[in-house]
């Protein structure tokens, strides 16, 4: 029996592991994800649905990495590091996969950057530039999607949505309203407010606007913005979670 027993509310002991990312030896807590370790060490891994301060979702697959000894690609945002792990984040194969994922995202809905309110301030657009996606090799679906402009202050344009579910998570985990959720499957999948009622008629929405600020594209925007005018508050979420943690 230890001489000084651990108090019941003490944080659990976490071991430190060492691993190798892109040939660089790094150490990390054993409960960290590959993505967070990479960020801590200044190693860039493209990601879209992941947002610091929200639960990792692993939906977009842009942050996939290669791990030695594992035949399939793993999402860095939701794969926990292990001792001796050897990770590759930027191989030709990964670059190819990321470009294809982006092409599929652009082809699935109607991301017309030139006239979008988020043009120049869009994470999807920036990722396309970063990953060298200069054209789309699959046919565009050109399917019409609904624009819900019924809310007094905000608008959802499903044509620009990539189903990252940041809005769903921030509304549930940070605001606590859980106005947003996901409906349907495959190409019919879409984010909805309440039980698929128009956003302006939602009884649970507090109109806080967090969903708009975390949306990576021009899907959730402030009303009244013209092309290129919708800039999101980049760092508000880590700040908000940090300040709430102090309370």
């Amino acid at each position: 029996m230890p001489r000084y027993p651990t108090p019941a509310n003490a944080p659990p002991k976490v071991r430190v592991v060492t691993l190798r990312i892109n040939g660089q030896d790094v150490s990390a807590r054993e409960d960290e994800t590959i993505l967070s370790v990479a960020v801590d060490h200044g190693i860039r891994i493209p990601s879209l649905c992941y947002l610091e301060g929200l639960t990792a979702w692993g939906a977009c697959r842009l942050c996939v990495v290669e791990v030695a000894g594992i035949p399939k690609l793993l999402p860095a945002c939701s794969t926990v590091v292990t001792e001796g792990m050897v990770v590759e984040t930027n191989s030709d194969k990964l670059k190819r996969y990321r470009r294809m994922i982006l092409e599929l995202l652009f082809a699935e809905r109607n991301h017309v950057c030139s006239v979008c309110v988020s043009n120049g301030h869009c994470e999807l657009q920036n990722l396309a530039a970063e990953c060298g996606m200069d054209h789309v090799r699959v046919p565009y679906r050109n399917a019409p999607y609904e624009v819900d402009s019924s809310h007094d202050f905000f608008r959802v344009d499903h044509n620009r949505c990539v189903l990252c579910t940041r809005c769903v998570r921030v509304c549930d985990e940070i605001e606590g309203a859980h106005t947003w959720d996901v409906m349907g499957r495959g190409v019919e999948c879409q984010v909805i407010t309440d039980l698929h009622t128009p956003w302006g008629e939602s009884e649970s929405c507090t109109s806080c606007g967090k969903c708009v600020q975390v949306c990576p594209t021009g899907a959730l925007v402030k009303k009244g913005t013209a092309a290129g005018e919708m800039e999101k508050l980049g760092d508000f979420l880590p700040y908000l979670t940090q300040m709430r943690g102090k309370q």
Binding site: V117, V147, R155, K223, G224, A226, A227, G228
Partner: protein, 475 residues
């Protein structure tokens, strides 16, 4: 045997079209048609979009005159907001619109048409372009490029981009002008004015070489439609509509912009994707009218700036009070308008409140219908929108400047073909004149027809059985 000549596409214009000439047994032109062959559908796919997107969305119609669509669309959206925009925002919008006039008119005159005028209508088609112009008159080619650059640079300084700036928005503009940029713009204007005056002088020296073209290039009586400013001055941004008849009498004046539909009807013909607007009370096609630089100068009482007014007096000096009716003189009017635009930009940039930072009226959609009218380089441009209570577009009608001239272009093509084309001995220069009359109107067909694409020029002489009798090909 009746035959048809097809000129496809018409070259050195903005957009995509072809012309057919129908000949009788003796090879004389019986009829002529100007076709816009493709369709883009902007009015339809605007439906369902939020109205604040409209300025940038409709501006994508065209890479030459996007600013014109920005202006008309922003004004229609101002209507939807039910706001009066800040005075400075209106002045800044005017500056950009005038800079667009400068760059677009420069493109039309120097890049598209000057080769016909300097090298001759019958010159070698391989040389009859801006590169040929560079060899024959490098100073003029440089002037054209520089003048266009001045217009484009002013647009870029205001809106951040030379083409498709997003700076003009519902309620005003989204960034004020800095003194540094104002000074930079002002410093370019004297050079621009010098080029414009030099070019106009050179054009006046060339006029004497084209008596037949002046006589037969779309020279017929029509009405004229344009915006008109307070005190009857030349106007490109706001004001009222004025319609004059072929003798210079005022048919209607002080027409409020939101009453355009009372005077303008739109007809359709099976041979073209471009509509045929006409003066509604006169019926179709008798209600033929022209718009653009020639119409604006025929309609206004004065320009309101000193050098342009001097040139306007000279332009009208032979007319005995009647409008200048030859479409050849669209070129002349265009050059006077460049001078006017540069003078007016200077006046606006020297306005004491031009650097004010109150530049946007913020509001939501407060009514369900909005109409915006402005003068594009090619003429009166009308954007008419309807929205639902959530601010989503339910209907759009765009009456494009080039469209207004459709009836006149068709008639002009026929007039030129009748006079210059001999079907028994087809020569390239004859058909170039048919194209050149179209160039006088400086049509922007990508806007008017919503067409896109490129093809080499092919002119075929086809008999009634469909056999090709003669063919000219230009790469």
């Amino acid at each position: 045997m009746p035959r048809t000549i097809k000129i496809s596409p018409v070259s050195r214009i903005e957009g995509h079209a072809h012309i057919t000439l129908h000949l009788d047994d003796a090879g004389k032109v019986q009829d002529a048609q100007f076709h816009l062959t493709q369709f883009r559908g902007f009015e339809k796919f605007c439906e369902g979009r939020p109205f604040p997107e409209m300025p940038a969305l409709t501006a994508r119609t065209c890479g030459i005159c996007p600013v014109s669509h920005l202006v008309a669309s922003s004004k229609a959206c101002d209507n939807l907001l039910s706001v009066t925009i800040p005075v400075t925002a209106g002045k800044l919008r005017r500056v950009m619109n005038l800079a667009q006039i400068v760059q677009s008119h420069a493109l039309s005159y120097f890049h598209m048409s000057s080769a016909d005028l300097l090298l001759g209508m019958d010159s070698d088609p391989k040389q009859r372009n801006v590169f040929g112009l560079l060899k024959v008159d490098p100073q003029m080619a440089r002037d054209g490029i520089r003048l266009r650059q001045i217009g484009q640079t002013i647009i870029e300084m205001l809106g951040g981009k030379k083409i498709h700036p997003g700076w003009m928005v519902p309620g005003g503009v989204n960034e004020p002008l800095t003194d540094e940029k104002r000074q930079a713009m002002l410093s370019m204007l004297p050079e621009g004015l010098e080029i414009a005056e030099r070019t106009l002088k050179s054009f006046k020296g060339l006029i004497g070489k084209f008596p037949d073209e002046i006589k037969y290039f779309g020279n017929f009586p029509t009405m004229y439609l344009s915006l008109i400013g307070p005190k009857g001055t030349l106007e490109h941004y706001d004001g009222h509509l004025r319609i004059k008849d072929a003798k210079g009498g005022i048919v209607e004046d002080m027409i409020p912009l939101d009453e355009y539909a009372r005077v303008i009807g739109e007809a359709v013909e099976p041979f073209s994707y471009m509509k045929f607007p006409y003066y509604l009370p006169a019926g179709y096609p008798d209600g033929i009218y022209r718009v653009g630089p020639l119409a604006r100068l025929n309609n206004c009482d004065s320009c309101g700036t000193p050098i342009a007014d001097g040139e306007l007096d000279e332009f009208r000096s032979q007319q005995k009070g009647e409008p200048v009716s030859s479409s050849f003189h669209f070129h002349y009017a265009r050059l006077i308008e460049i001078i006017y635009a540069l003078e007016k930009i200077e006046l606006l940039l020297n306005a004491p409140d031009i650097l004010a930072t109150r530049i946007r009226a913020l509001a939501r959609g407060n009514c369900n219908e909005g109409i915006g009218v402005a003068e594009a380089p090619r003429g009166t441009l009308i954007h008419h929108y309807k929205i639902d209570d959530d601010g989503l577009m339910t209907w759009a009608n765009l009456i494009i400047a080039t469209g207004h001239n459709n009836l006149a272009m068709n008639r002009g093509v026929k007039q030129v073909a009748e006079h210059f084309v001999d079907g028994t001995k087809l020569q390239e220069g004859m058909l170039n004149r048919v194209e050149a009359v179209i160039r006088c109107y400086d049509p922007c067909l990508s806007c008017a027809s919503h067409a896109m694409g490129q093809m080499p020029l092919r002119i075929q002489l086809i008999n009634a059985g469909g056999a090709v009798l003669d063919e000219l090909v230009r790469d």
